[in-house]
């Protein structure tokens, strides 16, 4: 068995056997909850990673697209009898559709102007959640009583819910992994480094940016649906600007452009505040100090892009490995 296959298998065993075994061992709803939230935020961070890390576009409105997914799933589930099986993809597609609409006019904006535009989009969507009372129930939020029903199978045990969330998140991350570690990902990285040069090489910069933005929104929408179904109640506050910043922090602390890094970043920023619960009111200060030190001493992130790419090439991308008598050519 190749090393690459071993590591992939190892990750799967970790996510689908070891962690569930641990959770069952402790048999505490509290740990299930943390595992579920951590998985959802890993997906959010991984999806933002595609836009901000790989394509280099500073995106400050990710939580709002996450919100679109959550609202679509919750409203469809609560008012229209469309359950999880169909609601989940619809949530992703709706978020992607909205992202596409807002991407059209904004994608030609550069650097900080793009960041401000996404900030505006995030606020606009948040205000829609808050003020369009007829559709979103406004500040009253939406209660979703139906649990997860996957192809007619009612899933209500903690373990079952964990498996559903972990399964959806794992598949999504797999797709994001393929996208960011491939020719496509390389093309996105070239936009980040020098978009004029990339354009001169024949890459359609605007189209690529729109694609990355829309794909990222799709997965944010999926994460939103998972949040709506696992919590049972959503309200605009869950998708406030501060959540966008939280996700962005995960990406930056973990390592811009590094998929394993942002997953570690997401885990850290969800687990650390919980682990520090016992120290009391100063826990947020400790988290802040740790984040600050992480950026100060590891400016490239906990698992920086260069080492992450080396890791990914070595163990995940067989296409990169040099064939006998040939030079390695990169990912296919």
């Amino acid at each position: 068995m190749s090393k690459s296959l071993l590591i992939k298998l190892g990750l799967l065993v970790l996510a689908f056997i070891l962690i569930p075994a641990l959770l069952m061992g402790f048999d505490k709803g509290y740990y299930y909850q943390i595992a579920t939230i951590a998985a959802i935020f890993m997906l959010l961070a991984a999806s933002l990673h595609l836009v901000t890390g790989v394509a280099g576009l500073l995106h400050l409105g990710h939580a709002a697209l996450y919100g679109v997914g959550a609202y679509v799933a919750a409203i469809l589930g609560a008012n229209h009898g469309i359950g999880f099986t169909l609601g989940l993809p619809l949530a992703g597609l709706s978020a992607a559709a909205i992202a596409f609409l807002v991407a059209l006019p904004t994608m030609r904006l550069m650097s900080i102007y793009f960041a401000v535009a996404t900030l505006g989009i995030g606020q606009m969507l948040y205000l829609v959640f808050l003020n369009w009372v007829g559709l979103t129930n406004g500040p009253n939020g939406v209660m979703l009583f139906s649990g997860i029903n996957l192809f007619g199978l009612e899933i209500d045990s903690d373990l079952g819910i964990y498996y559903v969330v972990a399964g959806v998140v794992a598949v999504s991350i797999l797709v994001l992994n393929r996208l960011s570690h491939s020719y496509y990902g390389n093309a996105l990285r070239s936009l980040r480094e020098d978009d004029q040069c990339a354009s001169a090489m024949g890459i359609n910069v605007t189209v690529m940016k729109i694609q990355a933005f829309v794909i990222s929104a799709f997965f944010a929408g999926i994460a939103g649906a998972l949040w709506a179904y696992t919590t049972g109640y959503i309200s605009p506050n869950d998708f406030h600007f501060s959540q966008s910043i939280l996700i962005l922090t995960m990406v930056v602390v973990g390592g811009l452009g590094s998929l394993p890094g942002v997953l570690i970043g997401a885990l850290l920023l969800i687990l650390l505040p919980e682990a520090l619960r016992s120290v009391g009111d100063i826990r947020n200060i400790i988290v802040g100090v740790l984040m600050f030190s992480a950026i100060l001493f590891l400016p490239k992130g906990l698992f920086g892009e260069v080492s992450a790419l080396n890791f990914a090439r070595r163990v995940l991308g067989q296409g990169w490995a040099a064939q006998k008598g040939e030079k390695g050519i990169g990912w296919k």
């Binding site: 075994a21 641990l22 509290y30 500040p139 109640y233």
Partner: protein, 370 residues
């Protein structure tokens, strides 16, 4: 933590074999989830202080042979954390009941957990119209806006006020303020000439005030907390808008008068708690509170103080057969509980029925009016 699968399975086996410990009788544990850090920490800290006053008094009274302990967990008013805390409380077999959370968003997200697990949840402030209806496990100790709105509507009718403008914050609570008032007011023959919702923290109310003046109402009914209330009242005074302002118990806070100064004079509101009221319970609470604070307690800490006391009284009633179920039934059976926010009885939905006091700001103080 480094655990192999085998140790994990061993652990699982060990957990399964350990008999579930019956409620240890060395203390009774309650959970309290509230924001102790973050944007709303000032409210959570006040709740904690009020709860500590109630708890210290209770444990000193010897009403139970064992002490009661409250475990506080910081939710930062974030639904993620609120749900996680709820799961944590539910896991702890010794915890028999929970107080909190502060905001409706977090209380309602956590309520889904308590509903599923069967744990009584008594919030001192969750004002969402559907909160108490979530399940039989949810209770609250804050008057509903249906009650406050009806009293205010009647109050205006008595004064011959027929045309009213309604201004409320754009939150679940603000929505219920408007609805709770408009329905009884229109039913009684009144007319609402203008309705506007504003986002919390709005700095400039002048365009709203100008628009409402155009409609020439006899009075304004408002749903705001003291921060927004002070801004609104100051700007009303700056624009010389001489229209009487009615409000709810949420505006009842000494800091409103501090921030708005003379502009607060003449504000009319309904309240359930007045620290100046000459009632033994109220004075005992205010005296204890004043030992550690340099301002009088507002409506919210008073509600928290009562919520804790209601829960403690229910613990006494259910003891020694204290389980989550028996405590829930004891809380539900609360009738005419004498607290600092008036007498409390829960209706079948877990909504508190309270008497409301009419008050006004006169000479920089809230005073009761007839």
């Amino acid at each position: 933590m480094k655990l192999t699968r085998r140790t994990a399975l061993l652990l699982a086996a060990a957990t399964a074999l350990t008999p579930v410990a019956a409620f240890a009788q060395d203390s009774v544990k309650l959970g309290y989830q509230l924001p102790l850090t973050g944007n709303t920490a000032q409210y959570g800290q006040d709740f904690k202080d009020a709860a500590e006053i109630a708890l210290t008094k209770f444990n000193a009274s010897g009403a139970l042979p064992v002490p009661v302990e409250i475990i506080y967990e910081d939710s930062r008013s974030d639904a993620k954390e609120g749900v996680t805390i709820a799961r944590k409380f539910v896991d702890d077999k010794e915890i028999v009941g929970v107080l909190g959370d502060f905001t409706s968003t977090v209380s309602m997200a956590a309520a889904q957990v308590y509903k599923k697990a069967g744990m009584v949840q008594l919030s001192q402030t969750a004002s969402h119209p559907d909160f108490a209806k979530i399940s039989k496990w949810q209770f609250r100790n804050i008057t509903t806006q249906d009650q406050e709105g009806a009293v205010n509507a009647q109050w205006m009718m008595d004064k011959g006020i027929k045309k009213v403008a309604v201004i409320a914050e754009q939150t679940d609570w603000g929505q219920s303020v408007a609805k709770g008032f408009v329905e009884p007011f229109e039913a009684a023959g009144g007319e609402v000439v203008y309705t506007e919702f504003f986002n919390r923290g709005l700095a400039d109310f002048r365009s709203i005030i100008t628009k409402l003046e155009d409609q020439a109402p006899d009075a304004v009914y408002t749903g705001f907390f003291y921060e927004d209330g002070a801004q609104f009242l100051k700007q009303m005074a700056q624009l010389d808008a001489a229209i009487p302002v009615y409000s709810t118990s949420a505006a009842y806070n000494d800091q409103l008068i501090e921030l708005a100064g003379d502009a607060a004079e003449g504000l009319l509101l309904t309240a359930t708690f007045l620290p100046t009221r000459m009632d033994a319970n109220v004075q005992e609470f205010v005296t204890e509170w004043d030992k550690t604070h340099d301002h009088a307690p507002g409506q919210f800490p008073a509600q928290a103080y009562d919520a804790v006391n209601i829960m403690l009284a229910a613990v006494v009633k259910a003891y020694p057969d204290l389980t989550r179920d028996s405590l829930r039934d004891a809380v539900a059976a609360t009738t005419d509980f004498p607290g600092v926010t008036g007498n409390t009885t829960f209706d079948e939905n877990g909504e508190p029925l309270k008497e409301l006091t009419k008050a006004s700001v006169v000479g920089g103080m809230f005073v009761e009016v007839e």
